[in-house]
Amino acid sequence: EKVAFEEAMGAALGGARSMVTMKHVGLNVAADPFMVFPYAGTNAGFVALVADDPGMYSSQNEQDSRYFAKVAKVPILGPADAAEARRFTAAAFELSERFGTPVMLRSTTRLAHTRSRVEPGERREAERQPFSRQVSQYAIPVYARFRRVELEEKLALLREFAEEFQGNVVEEGSSQIGVVTHGIPYQYVKEVCPAATVLKLGMLYPLPRRRLEEFCRRFDTVFVVEESEGFVEQELASFGINNVIGKVRFTNIGELSADLVAAGLTGAPVRPDFSTDVAILPRPPVLCAGCPHRGVFNVLKKLGVLVTGDIGCYTLGCLPPYEAMHTTFCMGASIGNATGFSRAGEERVVAVIGDSTFLHSGLPGLMSAVYNRVPTTMVLLDNGTTGMTGHQAHPGTGHTLKGDAAPAVDYEALIRATGVQHVVVVDPWDLESTERAIRAGLAHSGPAAIIARRHCRLLPVEKAEQRTPYSVVVDECIVCEECMEAGCPALVWEDDGPRIREWECVGCSLCAQLCPADAIVAAGVA
């Protein structure tokens, strides 16, 4: 994200309209340029599309990026549906160019994972704006002090702009019910309380103070319906507008819904699910049948080592039956965490990190371990793709996001270049050699890297591969349950023992390797 942000920044300074996209935690990584860029301001339009994840559907924290933009003094536009996302994107570029400021376009999971009608607009080609080499605009503190003053002046202009921005609209309704809202919660308000008079904000920072004052004066109390923190509510309070009901009724935890908004507006309870009447068992995601990560976690569990994890499908290694990943925080954390555990005195620690995450932010941690002479052991899960998020290409895959050929990072050479001397490549479908390699890595006196290399099972190249599925020879089975340690979705427990759903089995043989009675064989062999 930092690199992407800086490239988009460079492109915008160089005169081309540029957009960079990321989620909330990505903005943390890109925070450094994000905070400094507004001082210089942009040349051509620059828009950062940032999506928050209320409810943590696929994140490990909830974070409200509106605050981030406020800290950076960057204006925010926040669309409420797909059609508005298109319009606001165009508006964000215009805003960016009019004021020479980066602009945040803020989305959330619910908006991002929505499909709805969009009418395409007219495409207009933007002329490239030449860059002027005014050093005083872009460098060193002595100049930045002038920019600091200008930043406040720009913000004052943006406050005026907010008053007239057409994306802030009042939808007239009942004179009794006033609501200030924006984004997806606006849709919930319209759904459950179509009668309300609504001030729908399209610009979330700076807010249109005079319009808000005028609106809130019309009602005894105004509902402020917003997801995550009470950002708008707090801004209103800072304007001296206090006749509002906000977070006291609409939780700051998790995602709002039409039901929660209805409950907040009326006090009516939310209809419960049927979990008190019937066993609605939780269904967490699982590693796929044939997933190459499974072999590694089997070995790590067997070795009983402490495992620091990272961000990818392999975070599922923390769930039964493996329970062989003990921490997961953020991109690249596994290696630094493992080094820290070692320094705290933990004897056997293994960092587990995927290929795309390693390239994103694993390398600095590895270099630090080498440089500081800490014998950190790293298992690099190289499945040749970015599995969890949908198989995006990365610098190790040998092709670009658009599918064009590209040089592929040579992991062995890269890791050796940092000074790691113990680098071993294994096939994670082979339990014995995987165990041997990890044991050797742990025994090595310096930092060690084990590259567990096998493609993600969901890549087309893998799906095309036909392997014989395995099956259980029921007469040979001793019902020891060892195979269930594979945690494979193709393995199911029937009344009298394990069975393999042949149509799910991809023939990785892991369960057969775990079976002490040789009762699992390739179908057709028995």
């Binding site: 619910r110 967490p284 796929c288």
Partner: protein
């Protein structure tokens, strides 16, 4: 015209999201305002997945409120139970007989035995199909989503040719014929039922 609410639920990898995309596209092609909102979790496979499709003259929320869903399509029995509270009183639950045991995380209770009976007792109109079995007979169990979608098409008032065009547009060539047949089988199953 009132908004029609459909919720499609299943296990990651069963094609709940694709089915909902097809429905959303067919509804849009038929001239409706449409919103589709979905949840799929952190990994590619195995978790609980749902997708709401809402269409009518004007749709606001991409997710239907609880107690407002007209049709719940469940590709798996336990997932039918998980989202049944979204169904309106007397609403329809189309459920695939198929069961997928979840991995056990801090819940040792057995898989619920009579999920469809439970839903009937609660006053829902329950239609049970062996969509996975039907799809397997047609050549690939993964087409169960198309079987259920075909059954839903029988209940909805969307023109047949929009469905046909939507399938053609969205399903890759080598899988189109399978999905067509699965879709037709779902329709036929409901006509018989």
């Amino acid at each position: 015209m009132p908004v029609t609410n459909v919720l499609i639920a299943g296990v990651g990898g069963q094609g709940a999201i694709l089915a909902s995309e097809l429905l959303a596209m067919a509804a849009m092609a038929a001239g409706h305002d449409v919103k589709q909102g979905e949840f799929h979790g952190v990994a590619q496979r195995g978790g609980s997945v749902f997708s709401h499709v809402r269409f009518g003259e004007r749709v606001h929320s991409p997710m239907a409120p609880r107690g407002s869903v007209d049709y719940l399509l469940a590709l798996e029995q336990l997932e039918a139970l998980r989202y049944a509270h979204f169904v309106k009183p007397g609403g329809t639950v189309l459920v695939n007989e198929h069961r997928v045991e979840p991995i056990r995380v801090a819940d040792e209770r057995p898989y619920p035995e009579n999920a469809t009976g439970f839903l009937e007792q609660r006053g829902f109109h329950v239609l049970v199909l062996d969509a996975t079995g039907t799809a397997r007979e047609l050549g690939n169990h993964r087409a169960a989503n198309a079987v259920l979608l075909g059954a839903l098409a029988e209940l909805l008032d969307l023109p047949a040719d929009t469905w046909e065009r939507t399938l053609e547009h969205r399903i890759p060539g080598q899988l189109l014929e399978l999905n067509r047949r699965a879709f037709a089988a779902g329709r036929a199953a409901l006509t018989r039922a």
